[in-house]
């Protein structure tokens, strides 16, 4: 039986996903609040896996929480902290507990986070993790041993449509599709004309693509991303628009811009849906969806 998220992808509707960021610590109140606020408004919620290599409550625990609260989780799994044995074990655990969506990621460098001296693992990469999911679905582990009870997943991956240079990224993208990715959530896109060009290329593949939307919270935040986040480019006119916001109104301006982009993607049928990242301001996803005319 396909997961609810998979059904949404296959239904042809405009799919919306967002993030539920696990807490630093065991106080899950804030996360619970975000899940309750959003679970019935979006098609699924990604639960991040020590995002930016900052140690947090585990994505698997967060995915179970989404499930318990009646939401549809997408388990993010990076290859940064677990070798192939631990990854396979966690896939089995997730599947056995009703978590049937997984986003396979390589993971950021350990050096970028808050445990810089930790041993980076990277035993697998994202395409190998996708292949492992598919192998396990056939009832075997990565060494070919039979599993007493397999797994079932709607598996996805990411792509950076504005990576520089783009060609190696696209080869990797195609390898992820060949390895079994059914859906793709993109890195943040701001330049719709560029994104349309990427989609012209991507449309040739039978994969569902959700455009990454990161909420801009201020002009300096946009400039910071341009400088520090690989593959993210906020065009100058959007930065100027953020600057034009009245004092204290930058966040609302960011919501307006994000809502406008979502609306454009939907109205022009540019891709299959959006993945809204409101890093640290998850409650604003509702406002973005309202601004986009989705609620």
């Amino acid at each position: 039986m396909p997961s609810a998220f998979k059904k949404a992808l296959d239904s042809g509707k405009f799919v919306v996903t967002c993030e539920a960021a696990p807490s630093k610590g065991t106080n899950l109140e804030k996360m619970t609040h975000h899940i309750e606020l959003l679970k019935d408004k979006v098609d699924a919620m990604n639960v991040t896996d020590h995002q930016s290599s900052v140690m947090r409550f585990p994505s698997l625990g967060g995915a179970l929480l989404v499930k318990e609260l009646g939401g549809e989780p997408i388990l993010q799994m990076t290859c940064r902290d677990r070798n192939r044995m631990a990854l396979q074990a966690d896939l089995m655990f997730a599947s056995s507990r009703g978590v049937h969506n997984v986003l396979c990621l390589t993971g950021d460098s350990v050096m970028l986070g808050d445990h810089k001296e930790a041993k980076p693992v990277f035993d697998l990469d994202s395409s190998q993790l996708l292949a492992a999911v598919r192998t396990m679905e056939k009832g075997r582990d990565m060494s070919g041993n039979e599993l007493d009870g397999g797994v079932r997943f709607c598996a996805g991956a990411i792509v950076t449509p504005e990576a520089d240079p783009i060609e190696p990224q696209l080869i990797k993208f195609e390898k992820k599709l060949e390895a079994g990715a059914e859906f793709i959530q993109t890195q943040a896109v701001y330049d719709m004309d560029n994104f349309k060009k990427f989609m012209e290329y991507a449309r040739q593949f039978p994969v569902k693509i959700l455009a990454g939307i990161i909420l801009l919270t201020s002009a300096p935040m946009a400039r910071f991303m341009n400088k520090n986040v690989a593959g993210v480019t906020v065009p100058q006119d959007l930065i100027d628009e953020m600057k034009s916001a009245p004092k204290g109104g930058a966040l609302n301006k960011g919501i307006e811009i994000a809502g406008r982009m979502v609306r454009q993607i939907k109205e022009e049928n540019i891709c299959d849906g959006v993945h809204i990242m409101a890093i640290g301001k998850e409650e604003k996803v509702v406002d973005i969806m309202e601004a986009a005319g989705l609620l």
Partner: protein, 216 residues
């Protein structure tokens, strides 16, 4: 030419390692660490001055020609009297030299350097880590550039999402291995190799610690 690339440990760490040991004999090496200016004659002299200032008694110093050579033991034997007086040997060579000496001289050894990697000389005064001796070489499919080593994450199927302007996400001075591999294979007209799915790596090439006997 390959060289052992080293870096001086922080002074506080050396001080801590030498805690309680008042008399020190210092050993440098005439090969890699002389070239990289981490353990040649000038550095050994500077260390001697620094430790003397801190109140250590330097019983002697020497710069052996090739510390990792087994002959080092013979050379040090000639300096026995000074070495005997020391509580510890402070060794300003790479860890291969330190271990060679530790096996031959019955004395506590303190490395003054951190051994970073085996570097390939790639330009004037420039060394890069290009192989990490993984035991299962895969560079036949990557245009002769090693992704296991040159990619910060050792990825074998293409770049991660962190690559930026052809540089690595951890350091804008380091090239992204997968941009280099892409460019090389593209020049060779063999991008098909990059499109091949690479299985997870085999980490069982030679279980650590590696050991080899020349066949008789």
């Amino acid at each position: 030419m390959i060289r052992s690339i080293t870096q001086l440990k922080p002074a506080e760490e050396i001080e801590q390692l030498l805690d309680g040991m008042g008399r020190v004999f210092i050993i440098g090496c005439g090969t890699c660490v002389t070239m990289t200016r981490t353990g040649g004659l000038p550095e050994v002299e500077a260390m001697k001055d620094e430790l003397s200032e801190k109140g250590k008694v330097i019983t002697g110093t020497t710069v052996v020609p090739v510390a990792c050579d087994n002959l080092t033991g013979e050379i040090l034997k000639e300096l026995q009297s000074m070495i005997k007086q020391a509580d510890a040997l402070l060794i300003m060579t790479c860890a291969y030299g330190v271990q060679t000496i530790a096996r031959q001289i019955n004395k506590i050894v303190i490395p003054a350097l951190n051994t970073l990697f085996i570097g390939k000389e790639t330009g004037a005064s420039e060394f890069n880590e290009v192989c990490s001796q993984c035991g299962t070489c895969i560079i036949g499919e990557t245009g002769g550039i090693c992704p296991v080593t040159a990619c910060h994450k050792g990825l074998v199927n293409g770049p991660c999402g962190g690559t930026n302007n052809g540089k690595c996400e951890i350091d804008s001075n380091k090239d992204c291995a997968w941009t280099m591999i892409y460019n090389r294979l593209s020049e060779l007209g063999r991008l098909d190799l990059m499109r091949n799915y690479q299985k997870p790596r085999n980490h069982l090439g030679e279980p650590s610690p590696g050991k080899f006997m020349i066949p008789t």
